[in-house]
Each structure stands twice: as C-alpha cells, then as structure tokens.
C-alpha cells in the first residue's frame, strides 16, 4: 500500500512538472513545438546562411594564405596549395 502511494506520488509529480522539464527543442510540449516552429520555418536556410557566411569567408581567406599565388599566377605546375 505504502509502495503504491509512493509510485502514485512520483507519477503525479512527474505529470505536474512535465511541461517545464520537457521544454527542450526535441521534446513534446507546447514550448518545444514553438521552438521547433521558430527554427524549422521558411527562414531556416537564410538563418543558416547568415550564421555560417562569416566562417566561410574567413576560411576562404585562411586557405588563400596557404596558396603559393606567385606560382599559380605563373601557371607553374609545381605551384598551388602547399602540401
């Protein structure tokens, strides 16, 4: 009897706190649905592009530093990216 009461209390507690405990983006709650709607919408790819564009540009610059441009411009077969 005492054991059943403990289990019942645990389940009631879990049910009462579900909406707060399961607020992660992958969970099944109202907030989680709002979160997913805020992420996976028609602006998802433009947001992704906006976030990643600076990294793409600075990566291109960092890789360009590695290239032996004098050899490339001369059309030398030995030129290009340093190994």
């Amino acid at each position: 009897m005492k054991r059943h009461a403990s289990i019942t209390l645990f389940l009631l507690n879990a049910a009462a706190t579900t909406s707060r405990a399961f607020a992660c983006p992958l969970c099944d709650s109202e907030v989680a649905q709002e979160t997913r709607a805020g992420i996976f919408n028609e602006q998802f790819f433009s947001n992704l592009l906006a976030g990643m564009l600076p990294f793409a540009i600075v990566s291109a610059i960092a890789l360009a530093v590695r290239v032996d441009w004098s050899s490339v411009l001369r059309g030398n077969d030995q030129g290009g990216i340093a190994p």
Binding site: P25, G38, I39, A50, F55, V58, S59, R66, D68
Partner: protein
C-alpha cells in the same frame, strides 16, 4: 622555407578561439545578444530556446575551426621546411581573431542585422567598437607576423635524431 602553413593554421585557430570569446562572453556570460536576437528577441521562453539552438550551431562551427587549425598546426609541425615561430603563430591567431570580428561584424551586425553587440540598443557604438577591434587585431597580428619574419628558425626536424624510431 615557407611560413604559410603556420600562418594559415594560426588564422583558423584565431577564428575559432575568437569565436569562442564572442560566444562565451557576449552570448552566454553577459547575454548581451544571441545569434538571432534581432529576429527572435528574448521575450519568450521559446525565443530563448531558438537562440540557444542557433548559438549551439555557432559554437559547433567555432569548435570545427579550432580543430581544423589544430590539425593544420600538427601538419606544419612535422614539416622541416616550415620555420617554427611562436611570434608568427601568435600573430596569425590575433589576425584570425580580428578577421572574424571584422567579417562577422560587417555581415551579421550591419548588413543582415541578425544581431547586434548590445541588442537592447540595436546598431550602436558597440557594433562599431567591435569592427574597430577587428581592424586593430588584424593590424597587430599582421605586424607580429612581419616582425617575426627574420626571427623564424627551422627546427632540426627530419635531419635531427628522432626521439622515437618507428619500426
């Protein structure tokens, strides 16, 4: 001899570590802005979570930049034709940090307006200070790399006695 692999790896690491400074300090500790606070202001719990997800992606890419830089540094360290210079590498990291601040500031703060340094103010003096820090770091990094040109000395790699002989 070429310093290019060392400089390139330093720029990648500077971009990654500079990105972490931005993300940890401004996004998390001071919470002045998050990745998309201009589009999703932190006025609801769902918007907090949306920004947290995009901040997570931002940190994932900064982590990737750091790992790429580390791998390139490892590769450069094994080459006898790459002079080993802490000043060159530190200069390249500062240059990379400056590049990140300048490019990210121009694109995200001023062109796309997805967030601003102090979101509550919109475009403010702090956004221009962020760009200024980028220009300053680039100048410092560039100067350090230039001044280290004569100091860089090759390590006795390849020609030296190996510590571990592979079987």
């Amino acid at each position: 001899m070429t310093r290019k692999p060392l400089i390139s790896s330093g720029i990648f690491m500077g971009v990654g570590l500079g990105g972490f400074v931005d993300g940890i300090l401004f996004h998390q500790v001071f919470q002045l802005h998050a990745m998309l606070t201009a589009k999703y202001p932190k006025d609801s719990f769902a918007n907090y979570q949306v920004n947290m997800v995009w901040d997570g992606l931002f940190h994932a890419v900064t982590w990737l930049m750091t790992v790429i830089g580390l791998a390139m540094l490892w590769n450069a360290g094994r080459r006898a034709d790459v002079p080993w210079s802490g000043r060159t590498f530190l200069g390249a990291m500062i240059l990379g940090w400056g590049l990140f601040n300048l490019v990210e500031g121009v694109i995200d703060h001023h062109i796309l307006h997805i967030h601003h340094v102090v979101e509550a103010l919109g475009v403010s003096i702090w956004d221009y200070a962020f760009l200024g820090s980028g220009v300053l770091f680039i100048a410092i990094g560039w100067a350090m790399i230039a001044s280290a040109k004569r100091e860089a000395t090759p390590l006795p790699r390849g020609g030296g006695t190996p510590a571990i002989v592979a079987s």
